[in-house]
C-alpha cells in the first residue's frame, strides 16, 4: 500500500455511490416504510388504509377493557411478550458466550493447518436451511423422539421428558441457531491475540485465572461484544424456534410480528409498530454499548 499516495481521492466519492444506493434501498427505505405503515390504519382483510393514526401504538401500550369503554390502563400483554423475549435473548446470549468462548479459544489455539477444519465443522450445519434444522430439532426432542426413546431404553427415565413446547426447547433452538455468530468473532479476536501477553502476565506473577481476567478477556473483549450483538439482536426477533419448539407460554416478539402479516387475521400497522418498538429497543442497547466502549477507549 502506498501510504502517501492521495491520487485515488477524487475517485472516492463516485466509487462510494453504489454503496450508498445499496444502504439506501436495502436498509433505510424498508425502515422508513415500516415507520410510515405503523402510523396507518388497519384494513379489514390485511393491508392498510392511508389514514394517519396512533392506533397501533395505542393498541400496544394501552387497554380500555374488552369493549373499549373503560378508563385507559396499561396493556401488559405485549409488554410481557417483549419482556419474555428480551429475557430469552439474554439467556441465549449468555449461553452462547459461555460455550462459544471456550470453543473459539480451542479452535484458535490449534495448529494453523487444523483451524480451518474446525471452523468448517462449526459452520457445516448452517448450510442447511434454519427451518429444516429447527424442525429436525423438534423431532429429536419430542416425546417419542430419539432422545426420549434412548433415555428410556437405557432406563434413565420411565416417562418421556416433556421437552417440546417449553422454554427449555425454545432456548435450545435459539442457542443452536446462533452459536456460530458468537464463535466466529471471538475466534477472530483470539487468533489475533498475542500470547506473549499471557507469558508477560505469568512472568509478573499472575496466575492463570488472573491472566484470563486481567489480560485475555479485556484484550479480546471487542470480539465478545461483537458476538453478543450478533447473537442478541437476531435472538430477540427470532420466530422459528419459538413457533416450532415453543407453545402459547413461550410466545415471543418475532412470532407476534410474524402473525400480524399473515392472512386476513393480520394487522399490518400493529406489526409495523411492534417492529419499530423492537428496533428502538435494539438501538438503545447498541448505543449504550457504543457509549460504554468509546468511554473506555478514551480513558
Amino acid at each position: 500500500m502506498a501510504g502517501g499516495d492521495d491520487s485515488w481521492r477524487p475517485l472516492a466519492r463516485p466509487l462510494l455511490i453504489p454503496i450508498w444506493v445499496v444502504i439506501g434501498v436495502f436498509s433505510l427505505l424498508p425502515v422508513l416504510l415500516m415507520a410510515v405503515y405503523s402510523f396507518l390504519t388497519k384494513e379489514f382483510r390485511g393491508g392498510v388504509e392511508w389514514d394517519f393514526t396512533l392506533a397501533a401504538y395505542d393498541q400496544f401500550f394501552v387497554t380500555r377493557g374488552l369493549f373499549g369503554d373503560e378508563p385507559a390502563q396499561i396493556e401488559w400483554t405485549y409488554i410481557t411478550i417483549f419482556w419474555r423475549s428480551i429475557w430469552q435473548a439474554l439467556i441465549c446470549t449468555a449461553l452462547c458466550l459461555l460455550i462459544g468462548f471456550p470453543t473459539a479459544w480451542f479452535i484458535a489455539t490449534r495448529p494453523a493447518q487444523s483451524r480451518g477444519i474446525w471452523l468448517f465443522l462449526i459452520t457445516i450445519p448452517y448450510w442447511v436451511n434454519l427451518l429444516i434444522r429447527t424442525v429436525s430439532l423438534k423431532f429429536l426432542i419430542r416425546d417419542n423422539g430419539p432422545l426420549n426413546e434412548g433415555l428410556m431404553a437405557i432406563g434413565l427415565i420411565t416417562e418421556p421428558l416433556p421437552l417440546v413446547n417449553t422454554n427449555l426447547a425454545v432456548q435450545l433452538g435459539l442457542f443452536y441457531s446462533y452459536l456460530p455468530f458468537m464463535v466466529l468473532p471471538i475466534y477472530a479476536a483470539v487468533e489475533r491475540y498475542n500470547f506473549a501477553l499471557s507469558e508477560a502476565a505469568a512472568d509478573l506473577y499472575a496466575s492463570r485465572w488472573t491472566t484470563l481476567r486481567e489480560i485475555v478477556l479485556p484484550v479480546v473483549k471487542p470480539g465478545m461484544i461483537a458476538g453478543c450483538i450478533l447473537v442478541f439482536v437476531p435472538a430477540l426477533g427470532a420466530f422459528l424456534a419459538p413457533d416450532l419448539l415453543g407453545g402459547a407460554k413461550t410466545f415471543m416478539i418475532g412470532s407476534l410480528i410474524d402473525e400480524q402479516f399473515k392472512g386476513s387475521q393480520g394487522n399490518w400497522p400493529f406489526g409495523a409498530a411492534a417492529s419499530m418498538i423492537l428496533m428502538t429497543l435494539v438501538l438503545i442497547v447498541l448505543v449504550f454499548y457504543a457509549r460504554a466502549a468509546s468511554r473506555e477507549g478514551a480513558a
Binding site: N194, A196, L197, E199, A200, A201, A202, D203, L204, Y205, A206, S207, T210, E214, I215, P218, V219
Partner: protein, 351 residues
C-alpha cells in the same frame, strides 16, 4: 557465595529435534551475563527455560541454590523483557509498570509510587498516562524494562531487547542498560546475536552454537583467546590457517606456516597434528622483513581503517587491517608484501 543462576546439564528436546544439548552454566550475582550466538543456536530456548515458559527435558536450573526447573513462571522471582515488549495494550504505561506489583498484592498507593520511580528511572515520567500504542518503539522498550524491574526481581532476563531499535538508539540504550544494571545490582541475563552489543556491555559472555555453549569468558577472553574455531570465527574477523604442529614443548607448540616459515606459539593442550591457527587481522603489520609473504588482491577503504585482502603463498586468503593514519603506507594491488606477526597474534585452536 551461591550463584544467582546455575544450569546443570540442561537439555531441551522438541520431539525429535534437540534444541539444547546439555548446557551447564554458572552466573554470578550482580553479573551482566550475555548469551551470544547465531540465529537458531538456542539462546531464546535457554532463556525461556530459565523464565519457566518452556519445560526442561532434563537437567537442573537453580536460582540462588533452589531448584526452580519445575516451577510455573509466576512462581519464579525472575522477570523478563520480551523481544517485542509484550506491553498490555489495554493498560496505561503506569498500569503496565505497576502490574507485577499489583500481582504481588502491594496496595495501590505503594505501587503507584514505586511504578512512578521506575518510570523516572527510564526517563518516562511524563508518559505515565499514555497507552502503549501511543509510544515510539524506544519508549515502549523502556516501559517494558521498567515493568520488568518494578517488582525488584533477583534476575532479569532480556531477549534481544534492542533488536527493534535503530542504530543510534541502540547504542544509547546499551549505555543505559549497563548503568541500570550497575545501579540496581540485579543479575542480567541478556540474549543477543549482535557481538558488538555483547562485547560492550557484558561482564561475561557465553558463546553458543547449535545448542551448546562453546566458550564462557569476558569479552577480552573470548576475543583474544578463543577456544575453538567457531568462537574465533564468530567473534570479530579472523584469518584461519591450517597448520601442522610437529612438536609441543614447555607449553609452546612448534609449527610450519604456509610458505614454510616456522612459528611457535603458546598452547597448553595442543597435540601434534593438523590444527587451525587464528590470526587477528589487526595484529599483523606489513614489513619487508616479515616472516609471511602475501600478494595483495585489493584494498578496501573503511574510514578509520583499511582492509587489505591478500593471498598467501599457498593461495589461502589472508586479511590485514591497517589504521588509516597519516604515516600508513598503503600497499598496491598486485604487490608482494611481507607480514610480521606481533607477539601473541596467533592462537592455536583446539578445533
Amino acid at each position: 557465595m551461591t550463584a544467582a543462576v546455575h544450569l546443570q546439564d540442561v537439555v531441551k528436546r522438541y520431539g525429535s529435534v534437540t534444541a539444547i544439548h546439555g548446557v551447564s552454566l554458572t552466573i554470578a550475582d550482580n553479573e551482566f551475563f550475555t548469551l551470544l550466538g547465531p540465529s537458531g543456536c538456542g539462546k531464546t530456548t535457554l532463556l525461556r527455560m530459565i523464565a519457566g515458559f518452556e519445560a526442561v527435558t532434563a537437567g537442573e536450573i537453580r536460582l540462588f541454590g533452589d531448584d526452580i526447573a519445575r516451577l510455573d513462571p509466576n512462581h519464579r522471582p525472575v522477570n523478563t523483557v520480551f523481544q517485542h515488549y509484550a506491553l498490555f495494550p489495554h493498560m496505561s504505561v503506569i498500569d503496565n509498570v505497576a502490574f507485577g506489583l499489583k500481582m504481588q498484592g502491594i496496595d495501590l498507593a505503594a505501587r503507584r509510587t514505586r511504578a512512578g520511580k521506575m518510570l523516572e528511572m527510564v526517563h518516562l515520567s511524563h508518559f505515565a498516562d499514555r497507552m502503549p500504542a501511543q509510544l515510539s518503539g524506544g519508549q515502549q522498550q523502556r516501559v517494558a524494562l521498567a515493568r520488568a524491574l518494578a517488582p525488584a526481581p533477583k534476575v532479569l532476563l532480556l531477549d534481544e531487547p534492542l533488536s527493534a531499535l535503530d542504530l543510534k538508539l541502540r547504542q544509547a540504550m546499551r549505555v543505559e542498560l549497563k548503568t541500570l544494571q550497575q545501579e540496581t545490582g540485579i543479575t542480567f541475563i541478556f540474549v543477543t546475536h549482535d557481538q558488538e552489543e555483547a562485547l560492550t556491555m557484558s561482564d561475561r559472555i557465553a558463546v553458543m552454537s547449535e545448542g551448546r555453549v562453546q566458550q564462557v569468558g569476558s569479552a577480552r577472553d573470548i576475543y583474544e583467546t578463543p577456544d575453538n574455531r567457531f568462537v574465533a570465527d564468530f567473534i570479530g574477523e579472523t584469518n584461519l590457517l591450517e597448520v601442522d604442529v610437529h612438536s609441543v614443548t614447555d607449553g609452546r607448540a612448534s609449527m610450519t606456516l604456509p610458505g614454510g616459515h616456522p612459528l611457535t606459539c603458546p598452547s597448553a593442550s595442543a597435540t601434534p597434528g593438523r590444527h587451525a591457527l587464528s590470526i587477528r587481522p589487526e595484529r599483523v603489520t606489513i614489513a619487508a622483513t616479515g616472516e609471511l609473504k602475501a600478494t595483495v588482491d585489493r584494498v578496501v577503504y573503511l574510514g578509520t581503517d583499511l582492509q587489505v585482502l591478500s593471498r598467501l603463498a599457498d593461495g589461502s586468503p589472508f586479511t590485514i587491517r591497517l589504521q588509516n593514519a597519516a604515516r600508513t603506507t598503503i600497499p598496491e594491488a598486485g604487490a608482494t608484501i611481507g607480514l610480521h606477526l606481533e607477539e601473541g597474534a596467533a592462537r592455536l585452536l583446539a578445533d
